[in-house]
C-alpha cells in the first residue's frame, strides 16, 4: 500500500450516528496506515483549507466518536453549483486536495453531497488528477435513491416511534379530563418517512398514532378534522403524527398557513403542529397539546437504533475500502436481502444514480384512507429501528460524549473566500 492522505467531510444536517461513520472511517484508515484529515464545517473547510489532523486524536476519542451525536468536525449547508458556474470553487478544491496530498476524498451527506462528490470525481478524471471521490450516505430524511435506507434515519425513526408510544400512554391516561388530541410534528419536507415511522408506535387501528399526515398525500382539512373527531368518539383520544412538509392540493405548505404577526406585529412562528392544533381547538372544541421535537429527533443518540448505528459504521468502513481500491464516483449503499430476519450487506453504486434523485414513500406504503401506513411499510420500517446501540453514561447521569481537540493542519495556500 502506498502512503497517502484521506480527506473526510460531513455535509448537511447532522444525525445521531454520522459521527459513528466518521469513527469507522478513521479507524479503518488508521488500520491501513492512511492519514485522515477532516474538513472543518464540511466543504467550507475544504475550500478554505481549514483542515483538521485526526491523527492528533487518541484512539479512545475516535472510539467514543462512535457514540457521540452531532457533527464532530462541523457540517454545513452549502451546495456547489455546476462545474461551470462554480469553476473557481472546484479548482480551489482540487488545489487544496493536491496541496495536502489527498488521494481519497470521502463526502458524507445526502442528495446534494452526492451531487458534489460526483462532480468532483468527474473533474478529477477530466484533469487526470489521481483522486478517488466517494460519497457516504447520511440523512434522517431517508430519501436517497438506491440504498435500502440512509444512516441516521433508523435512529430518528426509533426516536419517533418510542416518543409517540410514550406520549400516547400519557394522553390515554388523562384524556377524560385533559388533552383529547395530541399532535406530533415530524421532520421531512418532501418525504414522509419519519412520520411514517411514528406508525410503528402502534399496531391495531385503535392504537396511537391513529392519524398520520404524510407529504405524499394532499392535506384536506375537512377530512382530517372528521377523522380526528371520529377517532376521539371511538377511542376517547387521538394521537396525530404530522410531517412538517404536508401541503394542500394546490401545493401550499400547511406550515406557511399559520405564518402570521401577533397583535404587536411581531413575527409569530408557527409550524404544522401549532396550526393543526389551532384548527382542532377552533373547529372541534377539543383540548389539544402538540410537540415539535425539532433537532431533538435527529440528535437523540441516547435512543439510537442498533441497526442504524451498525450501518453507519459499515458504510464508513466500506467507503475507505472502496477509495483505497481506487473506485471513484461511487457510494457504498445498503442492500436488503431479506425482511424477516432483516439481512443486509454493503454494495457499491454509482453516484450518478443517486445524486439529485429523491426517494419518496411508495404509494403501497400508505393506507388507502391516507391516514396511516400499510403492512408493507411496517415490514420495511420495523427492522430499521431494531436493537439498542451501546452508550456509556457518566456518574453525572449524562451520556459520555466526546469533544475532539480538532487540531488544525498548517495552511499551505493563499486564503480563499468560500
Amino acid at each position: 500500500m502506498r502512503p497517502g492522505t484521506l480527506l473526510y467531510a460531513q455535509s448537511g444536517g447532522v444525525t445521531a450516528v454520522i459521527n459513528a461513520t466518521a469513527s469507522a472511517v478513521i479507524q479503518e484508515a488508521r488500520a491501513r496506515g492512511v492519514k485522515v484529515l477532516a474538513a472543518r464545517s464540511g466543504i467550507l473547510g475544504a475550500l478554505r483549507e481549514d483542515l483538521i489532523d485526526t491523527s492528533r486524536e487518541p484512539i479512545s476519542a475516535i472510539r467514543a466518536l462512535a457514540h457521540t451525536p452531532g457533527g464532530a468536525f462541523g457540517s454545513c449547508r452549502y451546495k456547489l453549483k455546476s462545474l461551470k458556474q462554480d469553476a473557481a470553487r472546484y479548482d480551489r478544491l482540487l488545489q487544496v486536495l493536491q496541496a495536502h496530498g489527498v488521494r481519497w476524498f470521502l463526502y458524507n451527506g445526502g442528495n446534494d453531497s452526492a451531487d458534489t462528490a460526483l462532480k468532483v470525481s468527474e473533474l478529477a478524471r477530466e484533469r487526470g488528477v489521481e483522486l478517488s471521490c466517494i460519497g457516504v450516505p447520511k440523512t434522517i430524511d431517508n430519501d436517497l435513491a438506491v440504498t435500502d435506507t440512509c444512516p441516521g434515519f433508523g435512529s430518528a425513526a426509533k426516536y419517533t416511534a418510542v416518543s409517540v408510544r410514550e406520549a400516547a400512554l400519557d394522553v390515554a391516561a388523562m384524556a377524560e379530563t385533559s388533552t383529547r388530541v395530541f399532535i406530533y410534528e415530524a421532520m421531512g419536507r418532501h418525504a414522509g418517512w419519519l412520520a411514517a415511522a411514528g406508525g410503528l408506535a402502534g399496531t391495531g387501528p385503535d392504537e396511537a398514532p391513529q392519524v398520520i399526515l404524510l407529504p405524499e398525500r394532499a392535506y384536506d382539512e375537512a377530512a382530517f378534522l372528521a377523522k380526528v373527531s371520529a377517532v376521539v368518539e371511538q377511542v376517547g383520544y387521538c394521537v396525530v403524527v404530522a410531517s412538517e412538509g404536508i401541503a394542500t392540493a394546490d401545493g401550499t405548505f400547511v406550515a406557511d398557513a399559520g405564518g402570521s404577526k401577533d397583535s404587536f406585529g411581531h413575527t409569530q412562528l408557527g409550524g404544522v403542529a401549532a396550526h393543526l392544533a389551532g384548527r382542532v381547538k377552533d373547529q372541534l372544541g377539543l383540548k389539544v397539546h402538540w410537540t415539535v421535537p425539532d433537532y431533538l429527533q435527529r440528535s437523540a443518540r441516547h435512543i439510537a437504533s442498533r441497526t442504524d448505528w451498525e450501518q453507519a459504521q459499515a458504510v464508513g468502513k466500506a467507503a475507505v475500502r472502496l477509495a483505497l481500491a481506487g473506485h471513484n464516483g461511487v457510494m457504498p449503499v445498503i442492500v436488503r436481502s431479506s425482511d424477516k430476519p432483516y439481512r443486509w450487506k454493503i454494495e457499491s453504486a454509482p453516484l450518478a444514480k443517486i445524486a439529485n434523485h429523491e426517494k419518496k414513500m411508495p404509494a403501497s406504503f400508505i393506507r388507502k384512507d391516507g391516514f396511516g401506513i400499510t403492512e408493507k411499510a411496517r415490514a420495511y420500517l420495523q427492522p430499521l429501528i431494531k436493537g439498542e446501540a451501546p452508550l456509556p453514561y457518566g456518574s453525572d447521569g449524562l451520556p459520555k460524549y466526546v469533544t475532539l481537540k480538532n487540531v488544525a493542519v498548517k495552511k499551505k495556500l493563499e486564503p480563499f473566500e468560500a
Copy 2:
C-alpha cells in the same frame, strides 16, 4: 394482620415513573396479604365507584408496570373543594370506600392531591371511620414542600439535560451556515426546576445552554436579546432553555404576549419558545430553531433517572407501610442526608405541611445575572438524574410497556354523577 382492602388512585399529570410507584404499592400490599383496588381515572373513579381489581393482574404485569410510563389506571385533573363546598362528594367518597371495605386510601399526586388526601383523612377522623389516608408524592414540577424532590422530576430533568446536550452538539456543528440560536421550552408554570435541570447539560459559561429563563425572575426582553447576541458573538451560537411560565415584571406571561387565550379565556401556555424565536429573528436577524417537547418530557421512560425510579418505588412501598401501621394524613417524603455521595431515606411528614404549599427555586440557585444556575443548584440537581433505570426492549425495537387488563370491580352502590 387483619385482612382488608387498599385503594390506590393516581392524580394530575402523569410521569415516567408514577407507575413504578403503583407497582411498588401493589407488590408491597400483596406481600402483606392486602387486596389492592385502583380507581379508574383517579378520584373520578373513586366517586363513580369505577374501581379496578388489581389482583386480577399476574405478578409479571405488576412488575412490568415498574418500567411503563403514563398512568396505568388513568389519572385526572379534578380538584375537590372544601369539605363544606363539596360535602356531597366527600360523603360519596366515604360511602364508596366503606362499601368496598377500604381501610387504606393512597392518593398519588401533587399539591392538589395532598390537599384532597388531607381533607379525606380529617373527615374520616371526624366521622370515626376506620380509614388511613396517605398522600404519595408525584410531580415533574418538583414543587412539593418538605420532600427533597418529587418522584417524576428526576426523570424529566434527565430527559431535559440529555436532550439539551444532544441538541447543542447538533447546533454547534451547523452554526456557521445554519441555526445560530436554539430555544428549548421546558414545562413548569410557576417554578423553574425543569428549566434549571437543563443547565446540567453544560458546565463552563460557554457551554450550552448559555441562557436559562426561569419564572422566578422577571423576563426582560432587551436584556435577553442582548445576552443572546453577546453569546452568539463569543461562542458562535446560543442555546436557550426557557420555562413555559416566564413572565414580565408586570406579571404578563410571555406565552401570552401575543394575546392568545384558550377556549375558556384562560392564558394559553406553551407558546414561549415560538415567541422568543420570533423576537430573536426579528430583532437580531439570526436563524433560529425551537423545540417544544411537551408531553415527551414527562413520559420519556426510556431515559428515566435510576435515582428517580428508585425513589418512586420507595415512596410507594413506604406509603403501604405507613397505611398499614395506621398512620393517617401523612405522606412519605424523601430526605437528603448528603449531596456527595447522594444519600437519601424515606420519612413521614404531615400532609398539612405539604398541601397547598408550592416550593419555588431558592434565590441561591439562580445566577446573579438571572440567566443560569449556581453551583448550589447543581449540587442539588445532579444526583437526581444519576443512573439509568433498566428497561427491556422487544425484538421490534420498542420498549416492552405493559397494558393492564384493568378488570372492573362489581358496583354495589347507586350511580353518582361526579
